[in-house]
Each structure stands twice: as C-alpha cells, then as structure tokens.
Symmetry: C2
C-alpha cells in the first residue's frame, strides 16, 4: 500500500515535469510563429534562414516528452484516468510539433518570395490573422498549464474568427493575382502561408479538445463551429463574374 502511494506521488511529479516541458515546447512554437510572420511581413529572408536553423529544438523536445512519458508509465503503473492524462500530453506535444512544422513552412516560403512585392493590405491582414491565432494558442496553452477547462472550451468555439479572416484574405489575394500577373507566384506563396495560419488555429483547437479529454475523459462533439471558406473560391464569390 505504501509502495502504491509512493508510486502515485512519483507519478504526480513526473506529470508536473511533462506539463512543464510541453508548456516550454509551446513557448518555442509561439516564438517560431511570431518570428516567421515578422520575417514574412518584412520580407526578411535572412531572418527566415536563421529561424530554420533553430527549428530542430521543437522536434527534440517532442521526442524527449514521448520518452519520458513511456518511462513514467512503465515505472509508475498509473490508472486509467492518469494514463488518459499522459496520452493527452502526447497528443498536445504532437500538435505543437505540427504547428512548428507549419511555421517552418512559412519561413521557407519567405525565402522563396525573396523580397518580391506583396500588396500592403494583404500583409496587414496576415499580420492580424497571426495575432489572433497566437492569442488563441497562448490561451489554450495557459489552459493546459493551469488544467483549466473553461479556457479550452473558449478557444474551441473561437476558432471561427481566424477562419473568417482566412476567407477574406484569400479573396483579396486572388483578386490581386488576377489583376497583376507579376504577383502570381508570390500570391500563391501567400495563399499557402494563410492556409498554414488557419491550420495552426485548427491545431490550437485540437489542443483544446485534448485538454477537455484529459480533464473529463470525454471527447468534445465532433462538429466544431467552422467558418472556413477558403475553399469557397468560385469566380462569382470573388466578384470576377
């Protein structure tokens, strides 16, 4: 009985450590996004190159989290609800790695855009979208560190703002591409950068879902409120015909 209690106590301390490293990984992902967007809005290829060079840290942390989780489970034999918590942390680390990959993809595109002209309004829109998405990510990571379910549900329902901005930006950039062939290649890169930001928002809501699962043992309903209209690219919709 004393052995079981000791195990439980050690498990709780493992859990604290896993949460700490995962929150730290989240901070790194936030920095990568903020850096990539700054490089994009300033069309700063050098900055983008430096960001790419530091990218492996996130992947290494992901592996470390997974290894520690495996070791902790093997040694402490946690029960079902504690196990669910660890599996939730692994899910979140996975989402954060993907967010890091998307930020990396934006940095790579900044290098390809290579200082080419980009419509100023579109750039301001992207900056705004990134700010919204980063706020969501920060809120959900706060919810994770504080084991707070309200924050998680709030982010889960709030993702529509990012989706709506994505739609209007897509429209604007496509119209720009139609009017001026010269911005076509840069325009396509921008469309993918915007889509990357939208997907980061989706990953933030996935993290919110994982927090809900960790704290309640239940999944959120499969149909999250969605306002993604970046697919709605008919010519009529963008006012061309």
């Amino acid at each position: 009985m004393v052995l079981a209690e000791q195990r439980l106590e050690s498990f709780e301390s493992d859990l604290q450590e896993l949460i700490r490293i995962t929150a730290e990984m989240g901070g790194l992902a936030e920095n990568q996004i903020a850096g990539a967007i700054e490089a994009l809005t300033r069309r700063d290829s050098e900055r983008a190159r430096r960001l790419l060079a530091t990218d492996t840290a996130i992947d290494l942390m992901h592996r470390a989290i997974e290894e520690r989780a495996v070791e902790s489970i093997a040694q402490r034999h946690p029960g079902t609800s504690d196990l669910r918590y660890v599996i939730g942390i692994l899910r979140i680390a996975n989402e954060l790695e993907r967010i890091g990959d998307l930020a990396k993809n934006i940095s790579k595109r900044v290098i390809e855009i290579n200082g080419a002209e980009i419509p100023r309004r579109a750039m301001q829109g992207i900056d705004h979208m990134a700010t919204l998405m980063l706020t969501q990510l920060r809120d959900v990571l706060d919810g994770f560190a504080g084991r707070d379910i309200r924050n998680a549900i709030d982010v889960w329902t709030r993702d529509q703002e990012v989706d709506r901005l994505c739609t209007s930006l897509f429209r604007e950039i496509l119209i720009g591409m139609m009017e001026r062939r010269a911005i076509m290649a840069a325009g396509v890169h921008l469309l993918f950068c915007i889509k990357n930001l939208e997907r980061m928002g989706d990953h933030a809501t996935n993290i919110a879902e994982s927090i809900h699962y960790m704290l309640t043992g239940n999944a959120l309903p499969p149909d999250r409120p969605k306002a993604d209209g970046s697919r709605a690219l008919t010519l009529a919709a963008i006012g061309v015909i």
Copy 2:
C-alpha cells in the same frame, strides 16, 4: 509469476487487436483517398458529397484505438519496449486520421470546383501522383501489419518521387492560371489538392518512422531525403520571365 505471464499473454492479444483495428482504419483511409481522387478527376460533386457523409468512421476508429490502448496499458502494465509499441500505434492512428482529413478536404474542393473546366494533363498528373502515394501508403501499412522494418525504410526513402511530381504539377497549373484567368479559382483548388496529396505522402513517411521506432526503439535521422519544390515558385522557375 503466473500472473505476470498471463498479463503478458493478454497484452499480446490486445496488441494484435490494436494492430488489426489500425490496419482496418488504414484501409478506410485508402478508400477515402481513392474515392476523392476519382471524384476529382471525374469532377463528380455527388460522389464527393457521399464520401463526406461517411467520413466520421475514421475519427470514431481513432477514438476507439486510443481508448483500447489506455485500457490495455492500465490492465496489463506492459514494459518499456511493449509500451513503445502501443505509443507507436497511437502515433500511426493519428497519422491516419490526418490522412483522412486531407482526403475529406479534397472532396470538399471537388464540390467547390463544381464541374469547372480543368486542364486534362494536370488531371492525369494528379491521378498519377495519387497512385504513387497510395502505393506508398499500402506498402507502409503492409509493413505495419507484418512488423516489417525493411518496407518502412523503403517508403521513408521513396517519398521523393511524390514530391518531384508535386513540383512539376504546380508549375504546370500555375502556367495555366497565368494564361487563362477563367481557370484561376479552379487552379487554386487544384494546387491545394496537390499539396494535400504531398502531405499524405509525408504522413506515410511519418508512419514509416513510427514503425522504425516501434521495432527498434530508435528514431530515424531527422533529415529525410526531400525533393519538395512546390515552394520553388519564382517566376523564373516557371518560365514566365
């Protein structure tokens, strides 16, 4: 001691069951991709709608796999290397869910394209790319079911073919978009469909990496051979200037 042996035996039977469900989930994902590509090449919105209606099956299987894994670990107390195996299965189920999401995204775009004209050569290229990617996915899933590491490493190195095809298709579609404004919106949808296929290829290689980790306990080197050039969209590269 007898108890420990019984646990081990029960764990092995849980593992077989988890592998079976995950392989089944893989089969569903393959069907979703093949269906989405068929709907795309035939511009068959009705088919795409039917595919979207059956999409939830993959998500439900993902949840079932996670729940069974948690229950099995809690009951059987597997050791480190067996645990690593279960964690690997969870990773693979996660990748398969994402592949399903990408297939769903293609189906949604088929509905948006709504029968609009698409250059025939681009369509043939997409069909070819999908065939390559599906072969990779099938090979890696065979490797998973057969616990065969050679298959996994083979897929891991072979992903370059899909990446190269992605680059040449991007170029072709962009040139088409520049020449004819009328295909601009459909062209952007196609670019995203192609990118989705490329990302499915990336998920297949992630599965290969997980199989390697499950069977050896080690990760593959972080730098996989990559030939992704869909980012390389300078005007010079596509022959416009």
